[in-house]
Symmetry: C4
Subunit: 246 residues, 4 copies
């Protein structure tokens, strides 16, 4: 019996349609070059994931895996409700599941954006002790981020955005333990950088994950350009208040 009903819908916002259209967009942004990177959406207890090794701008709904998520879900023993005829499950799967189970995320995006990679290389060049955290403040785009897990509202202009950096592992699945560790140490972060690899970004829903991922890529690009121009990422800017509110 076919399980195609899980991935068949005329609604463009159905996860099985949305993942391909998002991935095509991400390809034009240089985020998922050469089958790298990916995207997963959770809808209640169902998780939709693209397979490993597909050309992201050519993906179709029929390429999508569907998993059942339950309290008993073990990141290693997964229950696939639907598997595409050909293809292997993505090595990113346990990392996406970590965002869903530990943070209740509704969407998780993984990019190989070279801005993200360059930021991790620039941090690495600062030497041990200074290479585990990307920090930037006093940039308007920082307002694009939520304050943190189960908190209301967004960061402010003067707040410092902090994104932890974990070391890359030979096997992508092995990143899971370190990703979860970073989540524990930085409970409010919505993203984790992976050295020499890319970034994982999640959010309560597709809208939030995607716009935070865009904002973060904007900030990574800006950070690299600031470095090239000799401008520091952290600054001490006095608060400006209009006369009428002083």
């Amino acid at each position: 019996m076919s399980d195609d009903h899980y991935i068949t819908s005329e609604d463009p916002d159905h996860p099985a349609n949305l993942i391909p259209s998002l991935c095509a967009k991400f390809w034009t942004l240089g985020w998922v070059t050469g089958t790298g990177g990916g995207c997963s959406i959770r809808n209640d207890d169902l998780v939709y994931i693209a397979p490993s090794g597909v050309q992201k701008e050519l993906m179709k709904n029929t390429d999508i895996y569907v998993l059942a998520l339950s309290k008993q879900t073990d990141l290693k023993n997964r229950v696939y409700l639907r598997s595409p005829p050909c293809g292997r499950p993505s090595q990113c799967t346990p990392l996406f599941l970590a965002a869903f189970t530990k943070r209740g995320a509704g969407c998780c995006i993984h990019t190989h954006s070279h801005w993200a990679v360059l930021v991790t290389l620039l941090l690495e060049a600062q030497g041990p002790g200074k290479d585990k955290l990307f920090e930037i403040n006093n940039i308007e785009q920082i307002k694009g981020f939520g304050k943190g897990f189960q908190k209301q509202g967004n960061l402010g202009y003067h707040d410092t955005l902090r994104i932890p950096v974990i070391e890359n592992t030979a096997h992508e699945e092995d990143l899971t333990e370190f990703l979860e560790e970073a989540m524990d140490q930085h409970p409010d972060t919505y993203a984790v950088l992976v050295r020499r690899h890319g970034v994982y970004v999640w959010g309560d829903n597709v809208h939030k994950a995607k716009t935070m991922c865009e904002s973060l890529d904007y900030l990574f690009q800006l950070a690299v350009e600031m470095k090239q121009l000799g401008i520091p990422w952290l600054s001490d800017i006095p608060v400006t208040v209009p006369t009428s509110r002083r």
Copy 2:
């Protein structure tokens, strides 16, 4: 009773159709990344504005707010003729209204272009007293700007384009007072840079606002690249006149 007639038209140049198509274009230019930035159009006494927090490349006419503009319009007490079913008014609203009421503009565009942000950072690095004005001259693209409010014609190749820079505030609405101050001090400018944030550009109509915004972004990019190559923004170039006109 529905107020959808304000935003329903088959004319692609109707403001409620034009704002979404412009914003989609701006998204591809990197101007409105991650819901940042925006665009507003005034048609006589009606003002059309996109809501806060929408993905700009996905915007629809049904997302648009419509305001009534009158001589009594208070920037804080606005009369909404039409509000989208969900969404919050944009924090840019009073800034757009300032361009409409103080300059009679027909369109105002706000971008988070990282070229604009980098220019404000480069000026900041020059220290107090030199950080409040972006100046460039002797570049052909400068001709893309009008001479100023209620003046005929455009700047010339040898003219210096001057764009004031205001400091960013924690709350975007608080920028309004400083934007108006910059308009008063630079009565001929069609744009104001906001430090570490982006730029506001306006014009008599959509065509003028959009082409000036493009020209300005071109000049900001050029300015950053000139700085990287050690070429100054201001130069003293002798006027070249053909023999036949000497």
Copy 3:
């Protein structure tokens, strides 16, 4: 009586259709930002030109001017067979006509590409006497250029591509005299750089003008990047010959 038959055709390769589709493509390449730049096609004695000040990605066939070209054509006294209802003739018109009358070109493209502008700025920084000629050799893409006016074949890999640079004038029409002078001094060039402004590129037909313009922009970008990396534009590379041909 309407003169719309000059610009009405279902053939996508008709000049009145081709100019808009080319200009839309050039807009995405950043060549005609903010109404800058343009494109003109000659078909026997008819010349098709876009008006001044239009948004290049939105241009339509109905925007096109049609001129009659004859041996008696004076660059200043032009005979318009068809004028768009609104719009002014492009200031580039006499420059396009110069390429048609002095070189028998079939197409002329004018871009404001910032790579072109940066190349003229880098040459300017080298000081008087070294600022009037862009030269590059030993790059495969150089093969994209014809050997010169009424000559057969293309440049070779080891040949030096030379593009003259003229100074910009306050009024674009005043460039004509200098453009013609540069054509006289460099009879084989298919392009002239304009300092702090852009480049004019022409060819026997649309195909040649467009592909040479692309190749030139590629080389300008490469030249700027080479400068940033400390790599000289001219080099002395020994000729490599396979054993079988020694």
Copy 4:
């Protein structure tokens, strides 16, 4: 009698349809600017190649050459089963055939990507003895490459990707001997850089050639940016293993 049946199919994945759609995509990536670069697909004993000098984003199935490949195929004496009405065979033809005959490749892509050219220039600047091999390691995207000819699996994160560099020749066909030499010396490579020219990338099929070409361009861009930021291409990174697997 027409030989158009070789290039007529409604299947978008037929080589005669796929080459034009791939080339249009490559044009937007800046890989085949100004008619440079190209792409060839082998299907059993049939080889499909685009002609020389076409605008790659405008190519049609009717532009395609079809060759017969047999054990007796001499790279110089080729049997054309179908030739387009106008056009010359691509000078890349013997280079594509080398990938098909010596490596059993199913697709070969040639780009003029300026990232590839810049990498060869940066290597050249390191002086003789250090200029013949591009090497990079400890970047996730390296996993996008197969281990080598007739080997199973892909490179790992810590493996060093090595791409040989050959010198450019005045005539593109003369590159063939050097390309084959590089294949002999580096039996596991899927790509060869050509100094001041570009890169040839091949794979068992279109999917593999295209995704490896994308990954390589990503790495070339990253390598240039790393050089600008003073970060070395080769590094000694300790292997990270999760606690659960120690």
